[in-house]
């Protein structure tokens, strides 16, 4: 997936599609997991809210998405 597309996805969608990304949020002590607002805020928005290093954050999300790709590949609708 392109970084640009990932940036624009709501974080709830990212965690639902690729549950292996949840630790990435937890490790940074972000409140996104289980939060009602996660359906409205994009990856780019939460990165700004938490003052994250964006390339670093995206890179880690990508790595986790790819790490268990076989399990989730049927559900991948976003390119």
């Amino acid at each position: 997936m392109e970084s640009v597309a990932l940036l624009q996805l709501p974080v709830a969608y990212v965690m639902e599609q690729w549950p292996q990304t949840i630790p990435v949020f937890m490790r940074r002590r972000m409140a996104c997991v289980g939060c009602v607002m996660a359906q409205f805020e994009t990856v780019a928005e939460v990165a700004a809210i938490y003052n994250l290093d964006l390339p670093d954050f995206l890179n880690e999300l990508h790595q986790n998405i790819l790490s268990e790709k076989s399990e989730c590949s049927q559900d991948q609708k976003v390119e």
Partner: protein
Amino acid sequence: MSVESIISVLRSAQEPLSGCSLFSGLAEHELATIARAAQLHYGKADHFFFFQDDPATAFYLLLEGRVRIVQSTPEGHQVILRIIGPNELFGGVAFLGDGRYPASAQALTPSTALVWSGEIMERLMEQHPKIAFNLLQIVAHRLQELQERFRELVTDRVERRVARTLLRLVRQAGRKVEDGVLIDFPLSRQDLAEMAGTTLFSVSRILSGWEKQGVIKTGRQRILITSPHKLVTIAEDLET
């Protein structure tokens, strides 16, 4: 509304908060019987579907709109117990309880509901015990929610209670708009006070403070959450 379209509504009607459905696990012919027994009830904004203390004769499933369930005390205080959205039941607890509605149900926006008489619903439950089981699940979820609200009333500061009330409304009726997340139905400060168990004065003071901090914007009976994250940190008592 045709019987077919009612059947398809019954099949897909899932309560948004609990994910429960009153008619899940029923066969097509059973849904058809239930659909034929239903009546359609339409109410404009402010219309009362029923009043507190009226004999409880019917059971409602909201299709469209918003309905507030409001209880008044003999001293004239009002409490909003719940706001009902599409696919949620109301009136059911009364019909199973002591025979009178413990609260009134008033439309906040133009609303349409399917209605079954208590007698019919009782007969349907005897014939299809799955309905009774599904209802039990729905009631259990509502009880859990009420317990959570009770704990908030006993332990939480007022500001946090108001924040949590807004988050609950977002879960039920939040819509992403350009500047943030909008609670998409008319909601007065008095409504919020009655839901959070506090006074109009406190709600006004808290909302004004949040507006100054850029957490929300308020307009004519509308609340726009411009900083969702900040509201969550208040509701959850997180460090910022």
